[in-house]
């Protein structure tokens, strides 16, 4: 019996595999080097890929049944969570990485797990399309490395409410100190990886540009190793829109990291804001944005809290066994899809914070050297046997006859030589202490069941007001309509300067509103 694929579907999925393969190569070879003397980073990365291969099919189906992937992507654009550019851009990458390793080991064929592949590839494409809807691309790299996530109504609030600053003043100094400490803390709590940091933009603000900087999973929440040591961190996610002069962000890539020309310099920062949000928040909620002094004081307080958490967490981690370090790092990588479950109200700690037995069995070969070399061959050199193509082939970037992720053979359209699934997920385990504390949300500290119940009944103001159907293409010709005004007012609900202003505002109006409030326009 042939597989469930139509020819057209398989063509589209193989194109998605190839696009993923090509962009992951570019990202891995130009954007980062993974190394740590504390964590065995590449061994845990390699191990995580297997957990993705074995567990994503069932868990993503569970999520999709509760809330379709594209709907989650759509809702995620209204807030900053782990459903963001970096996380969404790599779910299919890690899954395909597990497949490629297993193929190279001869443990599966390219024709195995075909129904699972079809579902996971479709799911990851839909959720990215929903999230990246504003610019109608699927990845930032399609848009010449721009992350245009937010619509006008959100950006108007960010611009209008941003608090001015200049080098040497209280707010500017506090922001610079905060960003350094938050970045440091993010790398540590995520076991050396950058998944806790995300950026979107740039967004044009007159002659200047705005970058929206997110710090995710800061407080007691899904990662059990944060319990206790981060009890004083109030907000799980923080978002800081930063408006810069004399700076062009020429790269905001598929991992949500940026480069600028000239190089990013804090001295060019002219205004900032601070918000928290999550899957239970009514959009972005301002954090201590009454005035510049109030925000500076809070940032200093937050910085001190994170610095303390960094020290305490480091002491905890430095006492871990290698097995615990491997587990924690692998779980951070594997759980890039976990916030999808939060949005859908089906999050379970054991789904996302355990490595199942089929993954655990591979630990004996995950020494430092194998981990480093296997990852280097897989995503850097593309030198594994299974990655080699016919000798006439030329890779998009390297011109070599190879591809990172193997396509699905079209033979599955006929005959019986294919298998459908890796089967149901199996029991998992972790060497880490179990989670003991509640989950930090914008609706308070909740139990797992309370989180899921709240998520299942929650609809934010902008979503209720029609954010799904009233996009900027519609707003362009209907901004005076009641529907448009309702949507903008829902987004402006917590705005310091725009509350109740509605959909008719132009950028000149934003300038005028700021001037009337005694604040300088930001367009340069």
């Amino acid at each position: 019996m042939a597989s469930n694929y139509t020819y057209a579907e398989l063509l589209a999925d193989n194109a998605w595999i190839r696009k993923s393969s090509d962009i992951f190569y570019w990202q891995c070879t130009t954007r980062t080097v993974q190394e740590s003397k504390l964590f065995p980073v590449n061994p845990y990365i390699a191990l995580s890929y297997y957990n993705c291969w074995y567990r994503y099919p069932e868990l993503l189906r569970k999520i999709d049944a509760a809330m379709p992937a594209e709907e989650i992507g759509d809702r995620a654009r209204e807030v900053s969570t782990g459903v963001n550019t970096i996380m969404l851009g790599i779910i299919q990458q890690f899954y395909l990485g597990g497949r490629q390793f297993l193929m190279d080991m001869g443990m599966i064929n390219a024709t195995d797990g075909i129904d699972d592949m079809k579902f996971v590839l479709d799911f990851t494409r839909r959720v990215n399309l929903g999230y990246h809807r504003q610019n109608s691309y699927i990845l930032n790299s399609d848009d010449n490395n721009k992350g245009q996530i937010h619509p006008e109504r959100t950006l108007q609030v960010f611009e209008a409410d941003a608090l001015g600053c200049k080098p040497g003043d209280k707010l500017h100094s506090a922001v610079v100190r905060f960003l350094a400490t938050a970045s440091q803390y993010a790398f540590l709590k995520n076991c050396e990886c950058r998944l806790g940091i995300n950026n979107s933009g740039p967004y044009k603000v007159g002659n200047n540009e705005m970058l929206v900087r997110d710090f995710i999973d800061l407080a007691e929440g899904d990662y059990p190793w944060l319990d206790g040591v981060t009890a004083d961190i109030e907000y799980n996610n923080l978002t800081m829109p930063v408006i810069m002069k004399d700076t062009h962000f020429n790269i905001v890539d598929d991992w949500g990291s940026f480069e600028a020309t000239p190089s990013y310099d804090h001295d060019n920062m002219i205004a900032v804001g601070l918000y928290t949000s999550d899957y239970l928040s009514n959009g972005y909620l301002p954090v201590h944005m009454n005035n510049a002094s109030d925000l500076a004081d809070y940032l200093d307080h937050s910085r001190e809290t994170m610095a303390t958490a960094t020290s305490e967490l480091w002491k905890r981690i430095s006492g871990w066994s290698r097995d615990q370090m491997i587990d924690a790092g692998a779980l951070v990588y594997y759980a890039v899809a976990k916030d999808l479950a939060h949005f859908a109200g089906v999050y379970e700690q054991n789904d996302w914070m355990q490595l199942e037995e089929r993954t655990q069995r591979l630990k004996p070969i995950m020494n430092d050297e194998y981990g480093n070399h296997a990852i280097a061959e897989l995503v850097g050199y593309i030198s594994l046997s299974s990655q080699q193509n016919n000798p006439y082939n030329m890779n998009k970037w390297s011109d070599q006859p190879n591809d990172m992720w193997s396509a699905i053979p079209y033979s599955v359209l006929e005959g019986n030589e294919w298998t459908a699934s890796v089967g149901p997920i199996r029991s998992g385990s972790t060497s880490l202490p179990p989670k003991t504390q509640k989950y930090t949300t914008t609706q308070g500290k909740l139990t797992q069941d309370e989180c899921n119940a709240a998520a299942r009944k929650f609809v934010s103001g902008p979503v209720a007001a029609g954010s799904k159907i009233y996009d900027d293409s519609w707003i362009k010709y209907n901004y005076a309509s009641p529907e448009a005004n309702n949507l903008y007012k829902a987004t402006q609900e917590n705005s310091r300067l725009l509350k109740g202003k509605g959909a008719g505002l132009s950028r000149a109006d934003i300038d005028a509103i700021r001037i009337a409030a005694g604040e300088a326009p930001l367009g340069g």
């Binding site: 954007r31 980062t32 080097v33 190394e35 740590s36 003397k37 504390l38 964590f39 065995p40 590449n42 061994p43 080991m105 001869g106 443990m107 599966i108 064929n109 390219a110 024709t111 195995d112 610079v176 970045s183 440091q184 803390y185 790398f187 540590l188 076991c191 050396e192 190089s263 020290s311 480091w314 002491k315 430095s318 871990w320 066994s321 370090m325 069995r361 630990k363 004996p364 070969i365 020494n367 430092d368 050297e369 194998y370 981990g371 070399h373 296997a374 030198s383 594994l384 046997s385 299974s386 016919n390 053979p409 033979s411 019986n416 030589e417 294919w418 298998t419 699934s421 890796v422 089967g423």
Partner: protein
């Protein structure tokens, strides 16, 4: 594609790295043996739990490699601490005895790529490469004027004390690594991809942090690299 065979791949080739090739080919052999003995089709066999490789199988494969006397390169400190019999010890900074001198006749003990242009800095070289050293500095404070010599481009080993360094010289990675990102955020002068020769703990050094920031996309240019010279 009814079954996998050893290197039954028209365009396949050996892996680049010996450890990867050893493991993957050993696993392929074992899978093929189990499959052949099962008498099943590949589609019947691939999801059959009774035919799956086990943790013991992977342990045996590693033992086969270790039995040849092979020792693994160490990356994380914890790996060597827990299993010193499996790993090569980490090598320190060598001393070729052939170092050049700068215009003032001072010994050049290293060069590196500057993360951002700052001011030249004189300080005391202190090697920060282990949990014990970091813990000591966390408890007792980072000595003033410390230029941390780090062989780790990550952002976690030195997380709780990074802010206390006067400068950083990192022997790993590139200016875009996590440590490069963090030192830039903190405004701590930093060289990445540093190559050291003859530098020892406690040396007074002058680091040319005033050099222009390295271009991450350019080919290596030795003349553009910042110097590390030994003062005393």
């Amino acid at each position: 594609m009814s079954q996998p065979k050893i290197i039954d791949d028209k365009w396949g080739k050996e892996a680049m790295m010996p450890t990867v090739e050893f493991y993957h080919s050993a696993i392929r052999r074992l899978v093929a043996e189990k499959f052949a003995a099962s008498g099943k089709t590949w589609e019947e066999a691939v999801g059959d739990p009774s035919l799956e490789l086990t943790r013991a199988d992977f342990e045996n494969i590693e033992q086969q490699l270790l039995a040849t006397g092979y020792l693994f390169e160490t990356s994380a400190q914890i790996s060597f601490i827990e299993e010193p019999n499996k790993y090569k010890p980490v090598q320190g900074v060598g001393d070729s005895g052939t170092q050049g001198k700068d215009a003032q006749g001072r010994l050049i003990v290293g060069t590196g790529d500057n993360v951002f242009a700052a001011q030249d800095l004189e300080g005391t070289a202190r090697f920060v490469g282990t949990v014990d050293v970091v813990m000591d500095m966390l408890i007792n404070g980072v000595p003033e004027g410390t230029i941390a010599i780090i062989d780790d481009s990550g952002g976690t080993l030195t997380a709780p004390i990074l802010e206390g360094f006067a400068g950083v010289v990192c022997m790993g990675a590139t200016i875009r690594s996590h440590l490069g990102i963090l030192t830039r955020e903190y405004g701590i002068p930093c060289l990445m991809a540093s190559e050291l020769d003859g530098l020892v703990e406690g040396d007074r050094i002058l680091v040319e942090y005033s050099k222009a920031a390295a271009n991450a996309y350019a080919e290596r240019d030795d003349a553009a690299r910042a110097l590390i010279v030994k003062i005393s």
